[in-house]
Subunit: 183 residues, 2 copies
DNA sequence: CAGTATACGGAGAGTTTCTCCGTTTAGCAA
DNA sequence: TTGCTAAACGGAGAAACTCTCCGTATACTG
């Protein structure tokens, strides 16, 4: 990539992160272009769709998700608490920008989506945590990581759209946690 | 209301139901106006916002929800099955049009929304079913109808956006059902 | 049947998305 | 250094959608 192209790419990603944080993931792309100091044409050449741009932004979130999953796997705390905390972190991470959870929910069902690869990261992180519980015989047997991603993703979407407080999210997650644990 | 105004109102509602079914609840309002054979100005005078129009459409769904709730309350079947069936019906009803579940999820947290009154109907229907279970001592105590609306609404949003099959929806609902039932 | 309040509808302004294409520039080779 | 060329730029503008204004038309009333 030419040096000027790389510079513009970086400027766009920085601007997009700012604008998405302030105005949500449905913010006008032209505003991002303006903030980055490039023309709309340049933005659209680097990122053909909104999803391509989101993909670039979201990349950095995944390391944090993985770290949280690792912490959950290695935790000595009681199963129920581990799961509750992991889900709360999961929701918080994918809800960083308004409209974000909805983007993940859509991409989760669509392998053609540019951010589908990020959904795979989410699924695998969940899988690691669930396996830890499965090994301990704590998990119901008829559930897989994808379904859990959807369930927790559903909570995140609703929480995002209705602007729920953390305590409301926690109590919804509590129901799912109990539903997942073998009794 | 003047007779011609009433005629146009009705034509718009009919056209909106058709267009929403075919193209989802984010379909262009101008297309609805065209289909109804009225100008955009007329549509916007009758329905100041998209939500006002959705409100008119959704009104007829609520009777069906109530009927399903009554059936659930009066059912002799095992608790678990009653709840599972009720939730499946609930999801199906609010998912009649693409984008519908998301509209409900947003309105559920916003008393200023024109369709908030419909969310209340949903909540009360859920409350009736939950009370039946509570009386039987089958329900966990720290949950209310609003939270259940959100949980099931989350499943509906994800299912709608990812175009999930009924069997996928059923297994997600199964986790929530188990989480809600007293063990 | 005339007068008036009400409703109609379409032109058009404002927004956002996305593209086309003439202009500019980075990187390279002589 | 200079000149060439492929790559990148950016803005004008088309297209899609939302929403309003206001001159025109029409339903009701007396």
């Amino acid at each position: 990539m030419r040096a000027d192209a790389q510079r513009n790419y970086d400027k766009i990603v920085v601007a997009a992160a700012e604008v998405f944080t302030q105005r949500g993931m449905d913010a006008p792309l032209d505003e991002i272009a303006t903030r980055a100091g490039v023309g709309p044409g340049t933005l659209y050449r680097h990122f053909a769709t909104r999803e391509d741009l989101i993909d670039a932004i979201v990349k950095s979130w995944m390391a944090q998700i993985d770290a949280a999953a690792t912490e959950a796997v290695e935790s000595e705390a009681p199963t129920r608490e581990v799961l509750q905390k992991w889900f709360a972190t999961y929701v918080a991470r994918i809800s960083r920008n308004r409209g974000g959870p909805s983007k993940f929910a859509t991409a989760m069902g669509n392998p053609a989506s540019p951010i589908y690869s990020k959904c795979e990261v989410l699924r695998l992180a969940n899988d690691r945590v669930l396996n830890r519980l499965r090994d301990a015989g704590a998990l119901r047997s008829d559930v897989n990581a994808l379904e859990v991603c959807r369930l927790i993703g559903g909570v995140a979407v609703v929480a995002d759209q209705a602007e729920l407080a953390d305590s409301d999210i926690a109590s919804m997650l509590g129901v799912i946690v109990d539903g997942l644990l073998q009794n």
